[in-house]
Symmetry: C2
Subunit: 340 residues, 2 copies
């Protein structure tokens, strides 16, 4: 029994190329807007429209707890109770992502998909983290939460869950064959002792689960967090409605890697917001051939980096749509054109 995968429409190469062609007629040297030019073209391909829009912005955060963090508190710099406390902080507007969403005019929603010790996953260092039913439930919650925010132009995704860098590291190991040494970092800032404990625990988990895991679903069930499963579902749900997905930091990027394994057509719908400070983030980005927009040394999660990238994404679409053309503005084009 596996969750249903929503169909993802084909990325429109024709609109992607139409957007690139339009850039050449805007009042600026060819290529001079750098990454913003390909970004707007990507939006055009996603929306199947040569003049894309990015003004309708949504932010969705999935929160869940991890049995591994309740059982082994030494692997995180924060106690597992902080997941629930931060859920309240999101609701009362005091968290970083709330401030950022407010500034950029994005609607923010938070979905509890397993917060609290009772609702947490099981300790993945000792057993499979989720039952089939847990997986189905988290997937449905992710699909529904995304659907409730659509239609929109752009969906920025974030997460909250004490212990979820450990879960993402283990998942990255199972998806790519990397070792725990290569994927485990300090997360929110665990000390040297905690870092060693976290590495050992992830290594144990990989030794336990790798022999039994045969596909991406199995990897998600074995070590995934419920918020990670919900993120995968939300990404595919957004792409189903031609909504661009903005990928935040390490955990969301690992979720994106899993989701692309499940649905390869998702890939062109993803915009990678930033390269974070967690060292394995780069490994996850590389596995997706992703070059993110920002590099600011962030390691907060909760979608903060994704929301910081929204103004750049919106700018790319506005520039393509609103800048004057050479002819309309009475501006001479460059030498190459003039010699004709």
């Amino acid at each position: 029994m596996l969750p249903p995968l929503r169909a993802i429409p084909t990325f429109s190469d024709a609109d992607y190329r139409a957007a690139l062609a339009r850039w050449e007629t805007r009042t600026k040297p060819s290529g001079s807007l750098g990454r913003l030019e390909s970004l707007a073209a990507q939006l055009a391909g996603i929306q199947a429209c040569p003049l894309p829009d990015a003004r309708e912005k949504r932010v969705l955060i999935f929160a869940a707890d991890h049995g591994v963090a309740w059982a082994h508190p030494e692997i995180s710099a924060y106690p597992a109770t902080v997941t629930g406390q931060m859920l309240q902080n999101f609701k009362s507007g005091g968290a970083a992502v709330c401030v950022l969403a407010g500034q950029t005019g994005a609607t923010l929603a938070v979905a509890d998909v397993g917060v609290g010790e009772r609702n947490a996953t099981r300790d993945f260092s000792r057993e499979v983290a989720m039952s089939d039913e847990d997986l189905m439930h988290a997937w449905a919650a992710g699909t529904d939460a995304a659907a409730s925010l659509l239609p929109a132009d752009v969906l920025a995704l974030g997460e909250m869950g004490i212990g979820n860098t450990a879960s993402a590291s283990a998942l990255l190991c199972l998806l790519t064959g990397a070792s725990a040494d290569e994927t485990v970092g300090r997360g929110t800032g665990v000390d040297d002792t905690g870092l060693r404990a976290k590495r050992d625990l992830v290594a144990e988990a990989i030794a336990l689960h790798a022999p039994n895991v045969t596909d991406t679903w199995g990897a998600l069930r074995a070590v995934g967090g419920k918020e990670i499963v919900a993120l995968c579902a939300a990404m595919i749900g957004a792409a189903h409605e031609r909504c661009a997905v903005v990928v935040d930091g390490f955990i969301v990027t690992v979720a994106a890697l899993a989701a692309v394994r499940l649905a390869p057509g998702l890939k062109p719908y993803l915009i990678f917001a930033h390269r974070g400070a967690e060292h394995a983030h780069e490994r996850a980005l590389s596995a997706l051939d992703a070059i993110p927009l920002l590099e600011l040394g962030l390691r907060l999660g909760e979608g903060s980096g994704a929301v910081l990238a929204l103004p750049l994404i919106e700018a790319s679409a506005r520039l393509l749509g609103e800048m004057a053309g050479f002819a309309d503005a009475g501006v001479d084009t460059g030498r190459e054109s003039r010699v004709h």
Copy 2:
């Protein structure tokens, strides 16, 4: 006869430190907002206020023509007439920076400090670009234009002037001792033939002027553009009123280098927006020990990169001011604190 330098108030180390201390009490792991944390602290030091603001944003573009481009059109991908045409495009709202300023809620102003063949500088490859009077005039125009936009929290600076990457390259040579090979690039996208001509012309100019240039004023007079002189004046004028200055691409960065040589106290007032595609930009940034916020392959000028960085700058101040504290939000602090 030299332009008067407005006094720059001392950067407040106490407020810088107070801002850093406040970050430690906000609901996030220590240091997890990366560059945004030092950025907000920099604003605190600039404004001499522990809770800085960055909502009042201004964009100021200086436009001027260069005799070197009128005399040697082969050194630019665009004819010199484009400076005046783009001035109109700024006024009618069709240029990239207009779209970006509108999106971010920043007031945009454009100052003509020498547009048109009659008002252009002289050909710096043959003679000194500016008279003492020209220099004084451009400086006063820069000071006045900045003053007319203040008070404000943040001033983003840009430029327009066909030929001004050649001027900035020559100025960078005179200020740092670099060769024309090291400082000349393709600007708005000149072809190989044009690039060789541009390098040769800058090399000739350096051979002509270097023996006579004894200080920064002399370098500005010899090869500077009027918009570059106005940029220097505007930076110092903004710092005089404790307004942060956002530095755009190659030309504005070289202007910043000249302005810091004239007034070393300006340095902490500068925020570097982006690393552009012009290869010598990195050289100019290094001379200022500057690490910019963005790297998007931009090479448009007109302040576009500086305006793209404004949402990040505003975010840093909003986060510091608006995020909840651990105690108020009822969120447990990290392990280090809990063991007490």
